[in-house]
Symmetry: C2
Subunit: 514 residues, 2 copies
């Protein structure tokens, strides 16, 4: 019985919901992570103070550009900034002061209240890959993504125990018109998943559609009073805020919906070729963006974002899982915590074209650091391939399996009497073994994290079964998950209203493909 | 000009050494890591005190077995332990007190003094895989290892920039008699590499051979006065010290050579199925072993070891890269530091049969934690495959590439004026890019860690070049490295003396294969 769904009832009755829920298969899911282990702090206080002072200097002396956005310039001027053309120079301390009205933590509601997530504090919410125009699977290779792929990835998210969030553009459905695909994407998240989701940001009107559709799903009042979307607002680094992205932010902030304000940085190209320099720029950009969100609406929920990778100075290609990216991820987390803002960074980043060893090293390097950096919202936590050009079916489930490790790591060490296991030590003694001990029997089921993909069979068995590599095992799992998928119950009245909204909106304008 | 080699001159003159060195190709190598970042501490003081008290209780109430070793029993009795049969019960506090004479840090000398390593403190020394009876490469698949493979792995170690140590049994040369292979292994390390190495531990007589051969290589006096070997002494967990391993430890400790005293634990089988319980056992075992080394010779260099993996409770197979292993690695590091002992743990652990994504996830999870756990000596840092049954050529070079990341991570964040890069930020400004900036030009060469294997080429180029996965790219690198390998210069007199020693020892007894 889902109280939250009941409470939200506007279209359709609770009875239908209850009946539908009873017949649905309940998929395994895990609550978001709450860390019981410390963060790794690699900047000392002096270093943080230097970076903060430098970021203030950047904002005051260099400033940021708000492009094609006269209203933003007006608001900044009113707030006390020095505005010349599109350049906004922000006096020292002002941006930080404006940021103070942003909440330290907020709840993003899902249509199934059990899937609500708490963003901020010691929590970590995991969301899938975002943005790739291509997909890859073992059978079909690399190809342009379609809405069918999109729906598959939403289904995988719904079926993945350790993935807390349905995400946003899990791949670009390139077979749907650019000006209409956000409708199909939102519809897929709302109907195929009952986890929280992200709104469209590619145009302010699409952000408005996201809010409208959310009102159909949750009810008008509920959306007015609660945050039901977290959307990704990228900054055009260095130091530039474009009118379209800011337009989407304005829609969301006014509607009290959450935005990630996120520099998008390939270090060496869009930021200085040094960690401290990049951190300075990240902080300056986030402070300007978050401050702007608070100029739009004080208290609007917002996340300190940092998408950072470095560049291969030979080829110009972005690289992933590098130590410089790790240091920036750790350092930016410290800066975010000092601002009292939720923090978004890390993900299943990799540059490899295949879900192979390169992909896995790069991804594991990043996921581990993401946990230790105190990340609160990890977009791209599974499924990313080839520098973000590709959503990989196999890598999605491989990464999603690894996310279980983050959950178990974050729990910390059980120091209870049972955890201390002195009885087991006494029972077994020198030269014995623990497999049959009472303590082992009582605890083995939950004691250790267990993979759902990796192969630990004896060599001979593995060989007889085809000597399959991880990607091949993952392909089997993808097929099984999509085969077993069942849609979460949705009130038929709301489902119909959502479908109507999408149909009407699509019929109202011609297709655009640019 | 190598002062250390000169100084050690006993057989052969310095002139020959100098001439040989001038003609040798100098391979790239990196100094061992000295951390400039904090360790990750997941146990609080109270938790550590509980574990320490529990370990004391284990030693006093349960005790440990010293098997087939009457001399050890005599020494323990003399030291104040309660000895009944082979069981040694150690009064609370005694083991810890005895451990205090072990050095906090020591230098292990290499025949090339530039390759000396400092073990302990904030340092991290990386050594390759140890022990597998099989090798695998892409061309030949999985097969029993031979002495030819062994030599190849020593050559790869010599050629690998980020590998500081030549290691020990980089694979088991199964084509050489069990009672003679240590001679060929040591000879390979001593002649094909100029990095530090490990001694034989499979029999006290083989440990003695290791000391004798080291005296030929370094000179008698030098070995008497310096540590030139670090050898691996496993404890038969739970709580059992066998006579052969302890016999080897005795030889080394008396000769002032270093030993790693290392529980070998598959959690759930050889230790309780809980992290705190396993840490308690690890600490009790290490305290007993290290204390014993100090009974043999006060001040003998010794390392707090922890080889820990967990068990798949379904199949009974050991698993790798798990969160439980990570927690134990982190916790044991804290316990080692409280004892003031150098710490050995982590490595390129994986259960996968192939150098694929599973292998890489598992390995990266472990390497990252190893760095953050304050490990001082990381055995198995590259090349481990299939739960330690296989030394993988391709994975060796893949892992060795990743070790560069640990070096760069450990450097911490450069907060110099150049690192802060305010000039670059001022020069570029909003909407610009940094590729051509003066700061980028001055810094790009050393700014970012760079892989020697991974592919970051555009998709089309990669596809035209054969769409190679990481293992295939690694196979190419292995071939190139072995092709380019050149032996480091060795004084001809010593080379001859070493060959003579091996030949005489081999001729003296019949082959044994058990």
């Amino acid at each position: 019985m889902d109280d939250a769904t009941e409470r939200r009832g506007r279209r359709g009755g609770g009875g239908a919901v209850r009946r539908a829920e009873r017949t649905a298969v309940r998929t395994e899911f895990s609550r978001f992570i709450t860390r019981n282990i410390p963060n790794l702090e690699i900047l000392n206080d002096e270093a943080m103070e230097i970076i903060e002072a430098n970021a203030d200097t950047v904002l005051e002396e260099i400033g940021v550009n708000f492009v094609e956005n006269p209203e933003a310039l007006r608001l900044w001027k009113e707030a006390g900034a020095d505005v010349t053309g599109e350049r906004v120079r922000i006096p020292k301390g002002l941006a930080r002061e404006l940021c103070k009205t942003a909440p330290r933590t907020f709840t993003q509601h899902a249509r199934n209240a059990e899937r609500n997530v708490e963003i901020g504090g010691r929590n970590l919410v995991l969301a899938p890959v975002y943005g790739p125009p291509f997909v890859r699977d073992q059978a079909g290779g690399r190809r342009y993504a379609t809405i069918a792929d999109f729906r598959n990835f939403v289904k995988l998210g719904q079926m993945s125990k350790w993935v807390h969030h349905s995400g946003g553009t899990v791949c670009e459905p390139t077979d749907v018109a650019v000006n209409k695909r956000h409708l199909d994407m939102l519809h897929a998240h709302m109907t195929l998943s009952d986890k929280p989701y992200m709104g469209s940001v590619t145009d302010p009107s699409r952000a408005a559609d996201s809010v409208e559709m959310s009102k159909i799903l949750f009810g008008d009042d509920f959306v007015d009073q609660n945050t039901v979307m977290t959307s990704l607002i990228n900054i055009n680094s260095p130091l530039t805020f474009d009118g379209i992205m800011m337009g989407a932010l304005e829609v969301y902030a006014r509607a009290n919906q959450a935005c990630i304000v996120s520099p998008f940085i390939v270090g060496g190209a869009m930021a200085p070729v040094s960690v401290a320099g990049t951190l300075t720029q990240v902080l300056a950009e986030v402070m300007a963006g978050v401050a702007y969100s608070q100029l739009i609406r004080k208290g609007a929920p917002v996340i300190f974002g940092a998408f950072v990778t470095s560049i291969d100075m030979n080829s110009g290609a972005p690289t992933f899982g590098t130590p410089e990216a790790a240091q920036i991820t750790l350092g930016a987390g410290q800066l975010a915590r000092r601002m009292g803002l939720p923090y978004r960074s890390a993900g299943s980043f990799c540059g490899s074209k295949l879900p192979d060893a390169q992909a896995a090293y790069e991804t594991a390097n990043t996921l581990n650091i993401g946990l230790l950096a105190g990340v609160n919202f990890m977009l791209h936590a599974c499924g990313w391939l080839e520098g973000g050009l590709v959503s990989s079916y196999e890598k999605y489930v491989m990464d999603a399996d690894q996310l279980g490790i983050l959950h178990q790591m974050a729990r910390g060490i059980d120091m209870s009497e049972n955890g201390q296991a002195m009885d087991a030590l006494r029972e077994v003694g020198p030269g014995g073994h623990y497999l049959g001990s009472a303590h082992t029997q009582a605890n083995f089921k939950d004691a250790f994290w267990r993979t759902g993909i990796f192969d630990y069979k004896p060599f001979e068995t593995w060989f007889e079964e085809g000597a399959r590599d991880t990607a091949t095992l993952a392909a089997v799992k993808v097929e099984r998950m999509l085969g077993e998928y069942q849609a979460p119950a949705l009130d038929p009245g709301r489902a119909e209203a959502l479908a109507d909204y999408v149909a009407q909106k699509k019929a109202a304008v011609a297709d655009a493909f640019m």
